[in-house]
């Protein structure tokens, strides 16, 4: 084998600490090296030509480049060699910049190390074999999990590009948290007015199949070829017959059996219900836990009043399967309920604020409902306990957020803005009212955001107090809010009529379970993890699965929409070609030595190992072995390390290649 070594100076980046000329000279003596040279910018056009010419002149069949990280230019150099007929997987990159020159300052030692790094790869490349990209077909139908603003945006973008979308929403209606909001910052436009047309668009779009009141049961397969099992929960209504007249809801005798989730528990709802009047689809659902019929077999009033025989008490869950090419996870967030310490939560709770104990201490979403024209008070400022107009209102920010001792260490990001909005909405409705905001910092980064907060303070006269609240208690119908003004250095006490807590955004409780079904990582809070925080914020570590919205981390509406469109764009990139090309760095099983213990199957984080049966001509089973699904395999090598008989090998990083490197390394010390 004739190996060429090309040492790049990377301007001064490598050349400053590594004597590249000397490295090239040392490398020229390594066994197998036919040509060795250094150059100032190997990635530049003249540098690339230098490689091409050497390949031709010296009839090289493998190349080692000493340069920056392979993340940066591995593709570049592989392409150069490939154009000269060398298989790209016979090209190795020694990282002389991040792993050597940038982290050392002794020139002699750094030069030695650079030469050693190249030596290791020269030994490895001798064992490299040509590898060829894997091609897999693409199913051009996307799955969007979650029907909030993020899911809606992503689904519409993909559908409008002409591809099919299946949208799965676990609630009876799409719309998500945005449908609960009154007005939105920083423009104060009505949330429902901008959202509901988009909800209807989803419902009516010929390319979108909408499955509400449904959940993801199982996901198999790989990028371009997922097989998704969906559980469509029994609505107890025949969807094709119901015309949404609402008669059943009007006549349901169970008026107050359940709290309305949509109104955040401020109102009650009937046993047969739609979450809110603008729900999409406008088809009710029967809550079997409270419906009289399911309790004692009597009632059936809804059956009597339904003119279309749409009620079906016997309806069962149905299981659907869909062939899917790409998945967008847009499952959103939940608001942390600051009750007493929740039983299964690591969070201590905020008993000192009396949430759940005092009716007029409410959460941000509850305030949204009170402020909303479609809410329980039709948008009038009335407090929950006695319906009186609160003349003094206190908003407390960072309840649960940025609190290492009692809550979460992260910032929920949207609370500074929505609290300013709340205080403004309050002042617009109660002109003689006083609004106080307790804050730690005001984080108003975003277009027109800081201006918005200033407007609340300067134009609407909201009193901002920098400090925390230690306790809230009731005294003679007032809520005594005790806190600290850290700018004045004084304790403050406000006798408020109502208190609004800006509680932390938390991950959906089912989020880790869904992540496990999808084989994607999640962080310690349950938020789904992106592949890279800067360069791959949409992708997950599983190919073909993308993230959108606050399922990933707390986000406001514009960010969710932007991320959703980005996820749609990533999906469309995937759908742009009929076949997918994947790197051939995957595991391979030697079926002659595999004993079928399937330890590899247990450790594989991507569910890429399958069981293969080997049969003789008569169809009798001879043995079972492990089989790697190359579409799923991400090339992590865990199976390779686990296999007791060394039958699974990661192509490109086989044991003999690693040993060759280790032996060369042993030589250097």
């Amino acid at each position: 084998m004739k190996i060429g070594v090309f040492v790049c100076e990377c301007g001064e980046n490598i050349g400053r600490t590594v004597d590249c000329k000397k490295v090239a000279e040392i490398a020229s003596h390594y066994p197998g090296v036919a040509y060795s040279v250094d150059y100032k910018y190997m990635c530049s056009d003249p540098g690339q030509n230098l490689i091409k010419k050497a390949i031709e002149d010296y009839k090289l069949d493998a190349v080692v480049v000493g340069s920056c990280s392979p993340h940066m230019h591995e593709k570049t150099f592989r392409k150069v060699c490939s154009s000269m007929g060398i298989n790209p997987y016979l090209v190795e990159i020694a990282n002389l910049r991040e792993h050597c020159s940038w982290i050392h300052d002794n020139i002699a030692e750094a030069t030695d190390k650079a030469a050693d790094l190249i030596r290791l790869l020269v030994e490895k490349v001798k064992y490299n074999e040509p590898l060829f990209p894997i091609h897999v077909p693409v199913t051009k139908q996307a799955l969007v999990i979650g029907g909030g603003i993020s899911g809606i945006q992503a689904a519409l973008d993909i559908a409008n590009a002409g591809f099919k979308v299946v949208m799965v929403e676990k609630e009876p209606s799409i719309g998500g948290h945005m449908s609960q909001l009154s007005e939105t910052f920083p423009t104060l436009d009505c949330s429902q007015c901008i959202l509901t047309p988009r909800m209807v668009e989803v419902y009516q779009h010929p390319n979108i199949k909408l499955l509400t009141y449904s959940e993801i049961e199982n996901v198999e397969g790989f990028i371009g070829n997922f097989k998704v099992t969906i559980r469509k929960k029994a609505r107890s209504i025949k969807e094709d017959l119901c015309n949404g007249c609402g008669m059943c809801i009007q006549k349901c005798p169970n008026k107050k059996t359940a709290k309305s989730d949509f109104d955040e528990g401020l109102t009650t709802r009937t046993a047969i219900y739609v979450p809110f009047p603008q729900a999409v689809p406008n088809i009710p659902v029967i809550d079997r836990t409270v419906c009289t019929y399911y309790k004692n077999g009597k009632c059936k009033i809804c059956v009597k009043v339904c003119g279309r025989d749409a009620i079906d008490f016997e309806q069962e869950d149905t299981i659907l399967t869909e062939e899917i090419g790409a998945i967008i996870v847009a499952t959103g967030y939940k608001l942390y309920t600051i009750d007493k310490k929740p039983a299964d939560s690591p969070i201590q709770g905020y008993g000192e604020y009396g949430y759940g104990q005092y009716k007029d201490v409410i959460s941000g979403l509850q305030f949204e409902r009170i402020a909303s024209a479609s809410g329980p008070t039709a948008g009038e400022m009335k407090r929950p306990s006695d319906g009186k107009e609160p003349k003094k209102i206190v908003f407390i920010q960072c309840v649960g957020s940025r609190d290492e001792s009692k809550g979460f260490s992260y910032c929920s990001k949207i609370c500074c803005m929505y609290t300013a909005k709340h205080a403004m909405l309050y002042k617009h409705k109660v002109h003689d009212g006083e609004a106080y905001v307790f804050y730690m910092d005001i984080r108003a980064g975003g277009k027109n955001y800081d201006e918005f907060v200033r407007r609340a303070i300067e134009e609407d006269g909201v009193n901002y107090i920098r400090g925390r609240v230690s306790r809230i208690y009731e005294e003679n119908g007032k809520y005594i809010v005790k806190g600290e003004d850290t700018l004045a250095g004084l304790p403050v006490q406000i006798d408020a009529d109502m208190v609004v807590l800006a509680t932390a955004m938390v991950a959906q409780p089912e989020s880790p379970k869904l992540a496990q079904i999808l084989s994607i990582p999640y962080d310690k809070y349950g938020f789904l993890a992106e592949l890279h925080p800067k360069l791959h914020p949409i992708e997950t570590s599983t190919g073909g699965i993308f993230l959108a919205g606050s399922a990933n981390s707390p986000k406001d509406i514009p960010e969710c929409v932007a991320m959703a469109s980005a996820a749609a764009a990533k999906t469309l990139v995937l759908f742009g070609s009929d076949m997918l090309e994947r790197e051939p760095i995957v595991a391979k099983v030697d079926e002659s030595t595999c004993i079928g213990c399937l330890y590899c199957k247990k450790v594989c984080p991507y569910n890429a190992i399958e069981i293969k049966e080997i049969r003789n001509r008569n169809g009798e089973l001879i043995k079972t072995v492990a089989y790697v699904n190359t579409g799923l395999c991400q090339g992590c090598g865990t199976c390779n390390a686990t296999c007791p008989s060394k039958s699974v090998q990661l192509l490109g990083f086989r044991d003999d290649q690693i040993f060759a490197q280790l032996c060369a390394f042993a030589d250097t010390i």
Binding site: K341, Q348, E352, S405
Partner: protein, 293 residues
């Protein structure tokens, strides 16, 4: 589980009624308390503002004595003793440097620390049925404000018994007697604690707030589990009343006294005669009223 008893200085002095009522109640349950042999001061109040090492070494000595004597749990009814023992057991377990210093000061090796329990934890561990069976007198008609103070359900995250801001474990025990725990605001507010001596006026202000809030929520008595709280609320109450005449006289009982009352133990045996604010008159009045009903 072998449990040691750490009385601390209060149980033998200012809060004798706590000690006697505890012993009387436990006697009915056939439980005998085994005092740690040669126990010493826990260092509460003064040591930890003087020297951190002293404040750590004093409880560490008692923890180690208990371990040496074969106990795996310490019951410290005084909330301050409990807090010091608990915090130090955590510190020597988590801070190797400090543990080495303490070993040096004490001149002995530290054994694995025993589990530390307070009054609420100790009684919550006892079978509720057993306690209910002992009830002879139903105390319904008596409204009780359960006052936890700052130490019984803290520190947050270390004491796992209850919610540190809205606790409910004392209410559960009080309910056994038939008395009605009231819903009130200041279960865990500060009583002024050790300011009792240098800044009595602060204690007066803070303790008055607690008494007033309990009264506003219709409590007849306040039940406590801490000698410090008791002395601030009971002993200082006359002075509070003198300075703030609108204060309504409110007897302060230890949880064990209330349990003992319901179990039919004699007033004097429980130590009810030792209080500054006489609880006996009020309790008899309430019980009579209930009997008439």
């Amino acid at each position: 589980m072998k449990t040691a008893y750490f009385p601390g200085c209060s149980m033998a002095g200012t809060s004798r009624e706590f000690s006697s009522s505890l012993k009387e109640v436990l006697a009915l349950l056939n439980i005998e308390l085994n005092e740690i042999d040669d126990w010493s001061c826990c260092g509460a109040s003064s040591a930890h503002v003087t020297s951190h090492l002293l404040a750590t070494a004093l409880p560490a000595r008692n923890l180690n004595l208990a371990s040496q004597q074969g106990y795996d749990e310490i019951f410290a009814p005084c909330a301050a003793c409990y807090s010091r023992l608990l915090m130090v057991s955590r510190e020597v377990n988590n801070n190797k440097k400090m543990a080495a210093k303490v070993e040096d000061v004490l001149g002995e090796k530290l054994l694995p620390t025993p589990n530390v329990v307070n009054l609420l934890e100790y009684f919550t561990q006892i079978d509720k049925e057993k306690l209910a069976q002992l009830k002879k007198i139903d105390l319904s008609g008596l409204n009780v404000a359960c006052y936890y103070g700052c130490l019984l359900v803290r520190p947050n995250g270390i004491n796992e018994l209850d919610d540190s801001e809205q606790p409910a474990s004392m209410e559960a025990l009080v309910s056994i007697t038939g008395a009605k725990p009231v819903d009130w605001n200041f279960k865990t507010e500060c009583c002024g604690a050790a300011h009792s001596i240098p800044h009595t006026n602060i204690v007066e202000i803070l303790s008055k707030k607690i008494i007033d809030d309990a009264v506003a929520h219709k409590a007849d008595i306040i039940v406590v589990g801490c000698p410090m709280c008791h002395s601030n609320l009971d002993m200082r109450q006359r002075k509070i009343k003198k300075d703030y005449p609108d204060t309504k006289e409110t007897p302060i009982l230890y949880l064990t006294e209330l349990l003992g009352l319901s179990f039919g133990i004699d007033y004097n045996k429980l130590g009810l005669n030792l209080h500054y604010i006489d609880p006996i008159k009020l309790i008899e009045k309430r019980l009579e009223k209930e009997a008439v009903k």
